[in-house]
Subunit: 198 residues, 2 copies
């Protein structure tokens, strides 16, 4: 079942696990196919039976990150207002990013060509749909839900990336970034609801 014989038996998954671990330890740039293979105990060319190249391996690891992110929002508690919903989503998003900053970085690494890894884009889309579903509960169907979810995503994503890039240290303590995101989302949501009177 596990690493015994000539054939590993579950190499693809073992490599993905090792990759995630490596990324957490050394960051997305510190990851190498060789090291992942070494940790799993196979030769350095074995991974290429399962992934066409290094980027594909990272993309597959990133995919698992997006799946976890989606699950995270599946179980998001239902709250009363549009504003509170937006605030909760933004805060949760930042919390996810801060839990494992390197994984988050990898998930959105610009090096990964989305057009070459359609499954990644697909899963990104599913996360997006969670946002839409949550917001839709408090909006009229005629309103531009898609647009709003994109805007909310921007807010959450900006706070998350600036935080884990250590760009906000002198402005806001790291532990309060989640709160920053939720208050940004709150103001944004109020601007919307007061304007359109929803």
């Amino acid at each position: 079942m596990s690493g015994r014989g000539y054939h590993h038996g579950n190499l693809r998954n073992a490599l993905l696990a090792a990759a995630s671990e490596l990324v957490r330890e050394r960051g997305a740039r510190g990851f190498s196919v060789s090291e992942a293979a070494r940790r799993v105990g196979v030769s350095s060319s074995a991974p290429y039976r399962h992934f066409p190249d290094r980027d594909a391996m990272l993309a597959a690891a990133a995919l698992t990150g997006f799946v976890e992110l989606e699950e995270r929002f599946e179980s998001l508690p239902v709250v009363q207002t549009f504003t509170d919903t937006a605030a909760h989503i933004a805060a949760e998003y930042v919390r996810f990013a801060r839990e494992d900053p390197s994984r988050f970085e990898m998930m959105f690494a610009h090096g990964i060509d989305k057009s070459k890894h359609a499954d990644l884009l697909q899963q990104t889309f599913r996360v997006q749909e969670r946002f839409e579903a949550a917001l839709a509960q408090h909006l009229q169907p005629t309103e531009s839900i898609r647009r709003y979810s994109a805007e909310l995503w921007s807010i959450a994503h900006g706070a998350a990336t600036l935080a884990i890039g250590e760009n906000m240290q002198h402005l806001v303590p790291d532990t309060q970034i989640s709160e920053l995101a939720s208050s940004t989302a709150t103001a944004w949501a109020q601007g919307i609801t007061e304007a359109s009177g929803s």
Copy 2:
């Protein structure tokens, strides 16, 4: 003066220029010290007389990006309201990012250790101060200007990074991301002004 003799004469700057060009062409991950040296016409070890390592070279190139970004906001036209100011800043930020996505990516690459490159953090801070100065014109001195500028930065940065990471293609056409950022900022600013009655 230029690349003639044994000594180049201006190698450091020439390397930085080559680095920026390389990053624009091949992305931050496609950059290599060797290739930059090759383009400038020096041996592959020459750059190490001017930069301790690859990351330092990238950080120095990123620094020039931040300087340009600051200049960009220095000449930002003064507008009437808090809301319009926020909208203009966000839109301009996204425009900057989209002009040379790879450079923008490099500027915020998580691989660069900000604590090791204090000048970078310093310059980031100066950009931040531009934001504050612009917003301050429309706020009472008692209001938390720093906090607001951090929130606005989040909004702009989120839209910019999602856009250049090709994560928004199915939601909003790339050409409209700048408009997305400005309308997000608008809602946010209205939420703030209507709440506090400024």
